[in-house]
C-alpha cells in the first residue's frame, strides 16, 4: 500500500495526465519511503502484502481507488514494469525525461556495475553521484507551478522543498540494484569509489526561459553559460510565476530524452608520506619545463611517484614537501619530509612489507634520491607538511672558495661567531618571482674546516629561510653582513648541502690546516651525525654515502 493520502489523489491525477512517470508522482507527493522507488513491479506487490497485514488509517474503499489510480499510472507511463519490453513508442516523463524510468532498471544497474568491474578497482564502499541536465530543474519547477495552480483553493501544506529531489529518487531507485551487482554496501567511508552517471545537457527548455529571467533577476548574468544559471536551483525558485510565462506549465512533451552519457569511476585519493634524500646536484624537485621544453631529465617527485603510481595503479599525483632545495643542493641527513596524494588509485590496501618493497624499488631505481619511512597516511598529513617551516633550524655545509689564502685566524674567527643577524634583501636570483623585501635571518653558529689555502668547508646552523649562497658571495652586497665582508676577501660558494630536521649535538672534529683530513671527519663535515639522534640511519645508507662522497670530492682535489 503506497502511503498516499486522499488529498494526494487530485495531485496524482493531474501529474499523470500531464505525462509524469510513477516515480515522479511519488516525488511530488513527498513520499519518503525509499523502497517504493525501486522497481514498482516487484516492490509494489511486496508493499501490498505487507500493508495488507498492517493497519491503515484510510478506509478500504479509498485504498482501492488509489491502487487503481497508480495501476493506471503504470499503464500510462508504461515503464518500470519488468515484463514490458522497452519500446520506442514509450511516452517519456515530462519532468525527468526518462531518468527515473529506463535508467532505474536492472539492466542499467548491470551496465554501471560492469563499468566498475572493468576498471578493476579495489574498494570498500561506493558513493553514487549523478549529473543531470540543467533543464530538468526547469521542467520540475514548471510542473510544480502547475500543481500549485490547481491546488490554490485547497490547503497546501507542502512547499517546493518538500518534493523529493530527482537525484535522491534516482539514487534510492538504483543504489540497491548496483550494490547487489557489485556485492558491496553504500556507506560514506573513506576508501570509496565515486561513480558518476552523467546525462548530457539539452538546450531548448533553458533558452525559452532566458529573456524572462534576465528581467527578473537583478543579479545579472555573471556567467555567460545559461546552463550554469539554471543549475542553480535557487534561481529557479526566485523566479516568480510571471517570469515563467514564456514556459508552458505543465511542461510540454519532450522531443528528446535523457541518455546516459558516461559512467565515470573515481576512487578517493590515497596519501603516502615519507622522507627523501637528494644526492644529485642536477635534479630539480618538480619537473622543470620552460616553453614546453624539459630542462632537466627528471625530478624528485617523478622519481618517487613512478613506482608508487604503478603499484597503486593511479594516473596522477600531487606532491607536497616540507620546504625544498635548489637544483644544485643535496639533501642529506634524515631527509626531507614529503607527502604524496595518489589520485584515483585502483588499489589501496598495502601491508607494511609491501610498502617496504615499494620503498626499495624507489631506492634502487635511481642513485639520485633515496626514500625512507614510506607509509600510508591520512589526508591531514598533507596540511602538516607546511606547518612549522618558519620555526625550524637548518644545517648546511658549504664548500667555499676564497680569493686570498685562508689563515688560521680566519677559521677561529668564523667558529666564534654566534647568533649573527643578517639583513638579506631578496636575492637577485629569485627577485623576479618574489617581492622585494629585507629579511632578517639569524645564523646561530658556524664551523669552518680547512681544505686547502683557497677552499674550506663551512658548516652553518641557521634560521629557516636563510639564503646561504647569498651570505657567502654577498649578492652584490645586498646581504649584510656577508662572508666577503667578514673575511675581508672575495668568497664564492662552490657546493652546498642541506640537512633537514633536528640534528641534536653535532659531532665535529676540526682538522689541522695543511693536513688532509681523514675520511671520518669528511663524512661528519658533510652532515652525517653519529650521535644518538640518528637511530634510524641504515647501514646501507651510510656505506652508500661514503662511496658517493668519494666520487664527488675527486673532482675538487
Amino acid at each position: 500500500m503506497l502511503p498516499l493520502k486522499e488529498k494526494d489523489k487530485p495531485v496524482v491525477q493531474k501529474l499523470l495526465s500531464s505525462g509524469c512517470c510513477a516515480r515522479c508522482v511519488l516525488r511530488f507527493c513527498c513520499v519518503l519511503v525509499q523502497s517504493l522507488y525501486r522497481q514498482p513491479g516487484e516492490d509494489e506487490s511486496e508493499e501490498g502484502t505487507r500493508t495488507a497485514t498492517e493497519q491503515s488509517d484510510d478506509p478500504p474503499k479509498k485504498r482501492m481507488k488509489l491502487d487503481d489510480g497508480l495501476k493506471g499510472s503504470e499503464a500510462s507511463a508504461g515503464s518500470g514494469d519488468a515484463e514490458a519490453p522497452p519500446a520506442p513508442a514509450l511516452s517519456h516523463c515530462v519532468v525527468c525525461l526518462g531518468v527515473l524510468q529506463e535508467y532505474c532498471s536492472r539492466d542499467h544497474a548491470r551496465k554501471v556495475a560492469e563499468a566498475v568491474k572493468t576498471e578493476d578497482y579495489h574498494f570498500e564502499t561506493i558513493l553514487l553521484s549523478v549529473s543531470l541536465p540543467a533543464q530538468l530543474c526547469v521542467r520540475e519547477h514548471s510542473c510544480w507551478l502547475h500543481v500549485k495552480k490547481e491546488m490554490r483553493e485547497k490547503v497546501m501544506t507542502r512547499v517546493k522543498d518538500d518534493i523529493v529531489p530527482l537525484k535522491e529518487a534516482f539514487k534510492w531507485s538504483v543504489q540497491g540494484l548496483i550494490a547487489t551487482e557489485l556485492g558491496e554496501s553504500f556507506w560514506r567511508e573513506s576508501r570509496c569509489i565515486e561513480e558518476s552517471i552523467i546525462f548530457p545537457t539539452l538546450s531548448s527548455d533553458c533558452l525559452l526561459l532566458v529573456p524572462s529571467w534576465f528581467r527578473c533577476i537583478s543579479i545579472g548574468p555573471q556567467c555567460s553559460d545559461v546552463f550554469l544559471l539554471v543549475h542553480n536551483v535557487e534561481i529557479v525558485s526566485y523566479c516568480p510565476p510571471h517570469g515563467f510565462r514564456h514556459y508552458p506549465t505543465p511542461p510540454g512533451r519532450p522531443t528528446s530524452i535523457c541518455t546516459s552519457q558516461a559512467i565515470q569511476c573515481l576512487h578517493t585519493s590515497i596519501y603516502v608520506a615519507g622522507r627523501y634524500n637528494k644526492y644529485s646536484r642536477s635534479l630539480s624537485q618538480t619537473p622543470w619545463i620552460i616553453d614546453g621544453r624539459r630542462m632537466m631529465e627528471s625530478s624528485v617527485e617523478e622519481l618517487i611517484a613512478e613506482p608508487l603510481a604503478s603499484s597503486f595503479r593511479s594516473k596522477g599525483f600531487n606532491f607536497s614537501s616540507s620546504g625544498r632545495e635548489d637544483v644544485d643542493v643535496r639533501t642529506l641527513g634524515k631527509g626531507r619530509p614529503f607527502a604524496m596524494e595518489m589520485l584515483n588509485p585502483h588499489r589501496y590496501r598495502f601491508t607494511k612489507m609491501e610498502m617496504k618493497k615499494i620503498q626499495e624499488t624507489i631506492n634502487t631505481s635511481s642513485d639520485k634520491i633515496a626514500v625512507r619511512d614510506l607509509q600510508i597516511v591520512t589526508r591531514e598529513c598533507m596540511g602538516h607538511m607546511k606547518e612549522g617551516e618558519e620555526e625550524k633550524t637548518k644545517s648546511y655545509t658549504a664548500l667555499v672558495w676564497t680569493q686570498k689564502p685562508i689563515e688560521k685566524d680566519d677559521i677561529i674567527f668564523l667558529d666564534d661567531i654566534k647568533e649573527l643577524t643578517l639583513d638579506q634583501k631578496t636575492p637577485l636570483r629569485v627577485l623576479h618571482r618574489r617581492a622585494l623585501a629585507v629579511r632578517q635571518r639569524v645564523i646561530h653558529s658556524m664551523n669552518a674546516s680547512f681544505r686547502d689555502p683557497h677552499h674550506f668547508y663551512l658548516r652553518l646552523k641557521t634560521q629557516a629561510g636563510t639564503y646561504i649562497k647569498e651570505f657567502v658571495h654577498g649578492d652584490f652586497g645586498r646581504t649584510k653582513p656577508n662572508l666577503c665582508q667578514l673575511l675581508k676577501m672575495d668568497t664564492d660558494i662552490l657546493e652546498l648541502d642541506v640537512e633537514v630536521g633536528n640534528c641534536g649535538t653535532s659531532y665535529f672534529q676540526k682538522g689541522n690546516p695543511g693536513k688532509s683530513t681523514g675520511s671520518m671527519t669528511r663524512i661528519v663535515q658533510l652532515g652525517l651525525d653519529f650521535s644518538g639522534d640518528f637511530p634510524r640511519l641504515d647501514v646501507e645508507n651510510v656505506i652508500f654515502f661514503f662511496s658517493f662522497q668519494k666520487t664527488r670530492l675527486k673532482q675538487y682535489t
Binding site: H432, L436, Y556
Partner: protein
C-alpha cells in the same frame, strides 16, 4: 670581474654563472662613458659602470652621488610592492638614474640604457662611495631594473656583447695611438 692568476676560482664566478654582460659605449655621445648591464638568466638587469668609465680612471674619487634627477623625481623615492613589483618608476633607454660628481669637479650622468621598471637603486654607494670605485661590477652597482616580460629578450638588441665591446675599446686605443701627439 677579472680574476688573475692563481686566485682564480675553479669555475666561473657568480657573474659568469648567472649573468650576461651587455655594454653601451659612449652613452649620449659622451666619450668613453660606457655602461654595463648585467642581465640575469631570470631576466632581471643590474646597471653598472663599465670598467672603462671615466669615473673609474685616473684615480678619481667621488664627491657626491645624487639620485635626485629633477625637482619632481628622485630615484630614492622609488617604491615597488608585491610580487609583480607595482609602482616602480618606468625607465627608457636615456632616462637618467643618477648624477655623480667627482672631487675634481667632473660631473657624470648615469643612464638606464634599457627599458624597464626600476626596482631599486644602490643606497650603499651613497654612504660608501669607494664601493663604486673598487667594485663597480658587484657591490658598487647602480640600480636593478626589471624589463617587461615580452621585452626581456630584447634587452641586448641595442647593446653590445662583450666581444663587440672589447672590439670598440681596442679600436679606441688604436685611434688614440694613431693620433699625432
Amino acid at each position: 670581474m677579472m680574476w688573475n692568476g692563481e686566485n682564480q676560482p675553479p669555475g666561473p664566478s657568480v657573474i659568469e654563472r648567472y649573468f650576461t654582460r651587455w655594454y653601451k659605449a659612449d652613452v649620449k655621445g659622451q666619450a668613453c662613458e660606457d655602461h654595463c648591464i648585467l642581465q640575469h638568466s631570470n631576466r632581471l638587469c643590474v646597471l653598472t659602470l663599465a670598467e672603462t668609465h671615466p669615473i673609474l680612471q685616473d684615480g678619481r674619487t667621488i664627491k657626491n652621488i645624487n639620485y635626485k634627477i629633477s625637482n619632481g623625481c628622485s630615484r630614492l623615492n622609488n617604491k615597488v610592492a608585491g610580487k609583480s613589483k607595482r609602482g616602480g618608476q618606468f625607465l627608457t633607454e636615456f632616462a637618467p638614474v643618477c648624477r655623480i660628481t667627482c672631487t675634481d669637479e667632473t660631473e657624470y650622468t648615469i643612464y638606464s640604457c634599457m627599458r624597464g621598471r626600476l626596482l631599486e637603486v644602490n643606497e650603499d654607494i651613497l654612504i660608501n662611495t669607494s664601493l663604486l670605485l673598487k667594485k663597480p661590477s658587484t657591490d658598487g652597482y647602480i640600480a636593478v631594473i626589471l624589463p617587461k616580460f615580452e621585452e626581456s629578450k630584447l634587452v641586448g638588441e641595442n647593446l653590445l656583447s662583450r666581444e663587440d665591446f672589447e672590439a670598440v675599446v681596442s679600436k679606441r686605443a688604436a685611434d688614440v695611438q694613431a693620433q699625432p701627439s
